[in-house]
């Protein structure tokens, strides 16, 4: 069992809801993943449109918690306003805070992120900041009131997997008591297993499942990888060695010459 802001969650996999081939596949993938939390966003509604209503009904029928995001926001004001609108619509103080600083890499504007996080934490939000693996930024976010950190392991949607293991290991070591969720950049179940083996508390992913040839199968595969990585972390991994070490006992070996 895993706990975020006093809420016990059965799964350490958080799943995005975008880019699925159909709402039915999204619903099946959520079920197959075993996730307890899905992300959602707010977008402009057409006059007379009912797009939001359909999605709203769908996510409410999934029986999971919703983590609204501020995806696409490029300024503190945009992010704060979007967070407040999300709180009203989704009825939750949880917010995945994104303040994007670069169009190409979708890298967070960490300066704006810290400022927005402070405003929202003071306003009673439970902030999940989408950040980099920079330790100083992480400290500033904690100082701003964040209780959870969500570092990327590679750019959003890149599927590169953990590109800087040393930084992630360092982050885990520096913040042993802070829930750390890898958000963005995972492409394969083995990537998820790797970061879970490093001791990260959970992963949040979307594209790797939604854009798979079989999103439902991939959701299931990621679920198993997250569980396997977590169990491996808790079981004590063998450190790599530069020399061969026989696994079969050498004592009692027959001598034929």
């Amino acid at each position: 069992m895993f706990e975020l802001f006093g809420t016990k969650l059965a799964s350490r996999l958080l799943l995005g809801t975008a880019q699925y081939p159909s709402p039915a596949v999204l619903a099946e993938a959520v079920k197959a993943s075993g996730t307890s939390v899905v992300t959602a966003s707010l977008r402009r509604e057409m006059a007379g449109g009912r797009g939001g209503e359909k999605f709203w009904s769908l996510v409410n029928s999934l029986g999971v918690r919703i983590l609204p995001n501020t995806a696409g926001c490029h300024s503190v004001r945009e992010a704060v306003t979007t967070a407040k609108m999300a709180r009203e619509v989704f009825g939750t103080p949880w917010i995945k805070l994104e303040v994007i600083g670069n169009h190409d890499t979708l890298q967070p504007d960490v300066f704006g992120l810290v400022e927005a996080a402070r405003i929202l934490c003071e306003d009673g939000f439970d902030v999940f900041p989408y950040t980099t693996d920079d330790l100083v930024v992480a400290e500033r976010l904690l100082g701003a009131g964040c209780k959870v950190l969500m570092p990327w392991c590679a750019p959003i949607g890149s599927a590169l997997g953990p590109v800087n293991i040393m930084a992630l290991r360092s982050m885990r070591g520096h913040f042993p008591d802070v829930p750390l969720i890898i958000d963005a950049g995972l492409g394969r179940p083995s990537h998820a297993a790797t970061v879970m083996e490093l001791g990260f508390d959970a992963v949040l992913l979307n594209t790797a499942v939604a854009k798979a040839a079989d999103p439902v199968g991939m959701a299931r595969a990621f679920s198993k990888a997250v569980d396997a990585g977590r169990e491996a972390y808790g079981s004590g991994l063998l450190e790599p060695r530069d020399v061969a070490v026989p696994s079969t006992p050498t004592i009692g070996r027959a001598v034929f010459s």
Binding site: G16, E45, G52, W56, I156
Partner: protein
Amino acid sequence: MKLIVNGEALEAKAATLDALLKELDYEGGWLATALNGDVVPAAKRPEFQLSEGDRIEILSPMQGG
């Protein structure tokens, strides 16, 4: 009066935000509104008077990562 709704310029008769939503055929408890960059909670829409040139955002839940 002239308003900017979700980035589009339009002419509206409504005097309040609540009336504007009705005039433009928006309905549902899943909508969120902002006026000139500030959130307007649903309960306050009836008392929110609109002015010429106001920028209004009307958002609803969508898929997100």
